[in-house]
């Protein structure tokens, strides 16, 4: 079947099987920043932004993104031109192995787009679907706080 959706700002059309998970689909078309950590919707390593909301792509079939907009980590920035949140995560030491990082950064973006000046509680809630075993979350929390400060309450 054919699906049409907006991928990282561009309208795209892809051929897909109805039983294909969005996680597998995105990795198949080369978006390897979407990571497989549990496939049960618990770890957040495969998180993407769907119409402004953070969601685990292992829990979605491709038909469910037909007609929608999604953002993956590749849509935020790259080595030459990283997004401010990506830079801030690195500056704050919030990246260790980096496997959870794309999901964490997307969860941060989804949070800050909706809540530009989040309380600590809102930050914790916004990132509660993403597991990290390396950092102990301390520097991730700090990176979100710093990102919000640097963005000065503006959406990005």
């Amino acid at each position: 079947m054919k699906i049409n959706f907006n991928l990282n700002g561009n309208d795209r059309t892809f051929e897909t099987e109805p039983n294909e998970k969005v996680l597998d689909f995105l990795r198949r078309i080369g978006l390897k920043g979407v990571k497989r950590g549990c496939e049960t919707g618990d770890c957040g390593a495969c998180a993407i932004i769907l119409d402004g909301k953070i969601i685990n792509s292992c829990m979605l079939y491709t038909g469910q993104i037909d007609g929608h907009s999604i953002t993956t980590i590749e849509g935020l920035g790259d080595n030459q031109n990283p997004h401010l949140i990506q830079e801030t995560f690195v500056d704050e030491g919030a990246v260790q192995c980096g496997f959870c990082t794309p999901g964490m950064i997307l969860a941060t973006k989804a949070l800050l787009d909706k809540t530009p000046n989040p309380t600590l509680e809102e930050i914790k809630n916004g990132l509660s679907g993403n597991l990290c075993r390396c950092t102990g979350y301390v520097k991730i929390e700090k990176a979100v706080v710093e990102s919000a400060k640097k963005l000065g309450g503006k959406n990005v």
């Binding site: 390897k32 914790k124 597991l131 102990g136 301390v138 520097k139």
Partner: protein, 765 residues
Amino acid sequence: MFKEVNKSVKKVDGISLATGKALFVDDQNFEGLLYGKFLRSPIPHGIIKSIDTSEADKLPGVETIIHYFNSSHIPHTTAGQGYPEPSPYDTYMFDKKVRFVGDNVAFIAATSREIAEEAIKKIKVEYEELPAVLNLHDAMKDNAPKIHDEADSFGIFDKDKNLAGGVEVNVGDVKKGLEEAEIRVDYSVDTHYSQHTPIEPHICITYLDEKGRLIIRTSTQVPFHVRRICAMVLETPEKNIRVIKPRIGGAFGTKQEVYLEYYAGKATLLTGKPVKIELTREEEFISRTRHPMYVNVKLGADKTGKIHTINMDVISNTGAYGSHALTVMFNSGSKCLPLYKAENVRFNGKTVYTNLPVAGAYRGYGATQGYAALEQVLDILAEKVGKDPVEIRKMNHIQKGETSPIFKALGEGKEGAETFIKSIKLDEALDWGVEEINWQDRIPYTEKTGRYRKGKGMGIFMQGSGIPLVDMASAFIKINDDGSFNLQVGATDLGTGSDTVLSQIAAETLETTTDNIIIYSSDTDMTPFDVGAYASSTTYISGGAVNNAAEKVKKQIIKVAAEMLETHEDDIELRDTKAFSKKNNTSKTFGDIGKYALYINNQFQIGAIGSHISQVSPPPFMAVFVEIEVDTWTGKIKVLKYVCGVDCGTAINPKLAEGQVEGAIVNGLSYALTERYIFNEKGKMMNGSFQDYKIFNIEDLPELKVKLFPSYEPTGPYGAKSVSEIGINGPIPAIANALYNAVGVRAHKFPMYPEFILNKLEKNG
């Protein structure tokens, strides 16, 4: 004093990771990739009578099925340790016996994951089930079933008693010491199963290169041990194998294990095709685990609280196979007992086989289990002699210039190395922690009432820095035309940041900047040898190798610079990526020097290899304080504040060092409070998902304060010691001590789950 080290430079792979560009094992496409799946044993103990694959073979897309009856039978260990490994050779690619629910029975490689899963269901296996051992305390009983009765395994301590390993060391006279002690403490704990849960599960992809060599792309801590162990199991020389470790998604010890790569490799050799094995999250829980342990500590002290005698008895459960069986148990003694001075010390350790999931290396490596008992015992002693827990530790812990006979007596499965403490800032960390947690406001549980009761607890800890006289690391450095340097290391960055730390060390020695170092790590064809990332060794041991290589390169740069600047080598000073003649007040950039050496005159490649081993394993030290709140109606413990001061010598990269400690603490907090294995009556782990096995998320985080207390370790690179493991030792005993301070009950079983606490509270009335 330092220019590049002791600075929080950005992680060299940080932006690549944050932009999702960095390549993990599965991020590269392979044409014609096959998917590997295991058929696993449904019974805990039994003999495979027959395997019928005829139905599975017929399934289109099934390329190969490997099992006991069509594969070779090479005894080996999956523990990725140096050669000869101190773990018993008790494991086979496939055996005719299965030893736990989940043991490998057959391996299928098929053109899709779905076909492989379908084929698994079509294999018929006939088992003769045997009685099983499902508890470590039952393993040594006279009538216990023998788990390893196979003829050709070796290195097992006592097959008849299900003993994978055993050791006893004695210093002084412990029996007499305990008999004559004015104060005695006798306390035991049972620690529990837990899993590392790296967010990237175990994964490897194998393929043949254009020359037909087997390439193993794998998420491993130990690429060189992968090559050696796979060569042995696949019966091919090491020269036919190349192991590449790309970025890896966390490890914590579970990837110090070589037990997927040779299955995929075998299937690639049989089919000529690339093969991928990626464990599911559920499989991850029965891959490798932490050794559960029974730990008993008997302590003899005088009335002032001065310790004279310590006896530690350990029974460690290694599960069905003896991976790290001996050494994890050794470390319960060797990483705990030297912390306290005593004339009489005895360590008696046994590691037993059971028909339960296989244990292995896990951050803390036995010390975590040992401290669960020892640091509670110190609090019990303090109470008995009427002293403050902080004071009792200060008067007994090892000091600068002192040694412990245990360093020499207990090594890595054999004798260790005598170690005098040359750097320690433990008392400074203690004093800071006392302030941070308001220790002086602590009141005994007897004065507390109400549903919610707060309590404060603490503990002190040490670990090691690499395995002395065993761990070897090497590094190669060469200069380029523009004065940049390639640094090639066998050291393995697990996400810990070692690529960054090692680049910083190279930059410091070479008088250049970290961004002028191009690091490439962990590729058995392209990088020199390193034992790998374990035993808290990378900064200390691999850092030493990088420093040695850099010193040699520095000498060559000075020689060329002297030639170019027409002066003596003594007159040359290196600074800011330049060489200066002090006398002539002239200079050349490293770019000039690189080009000169490569193209102009007396051409040669400026470059050198450096290796390093250490005679000692200097311990990092740590003081921990915690405040908790106990809900006496439900038994639930909430951690309010966790304070941790760590002496890791010079922190080469303070932010990354803090990150190591913070990560270890939060891992340790859920180990202490929520992580547990629920087994059914056959020893099958029933809760293998993140829904049912609770690791902390960001909402569970207490107020967490980590502070580094830099000492200077003269044997380490720029004064560094290790930092990666020690943090995980704190949560269990510190929280257990706080629990006692809150409600007057002691935790001896873990995790400290609400129903367990409630049960204890009810017993106390």
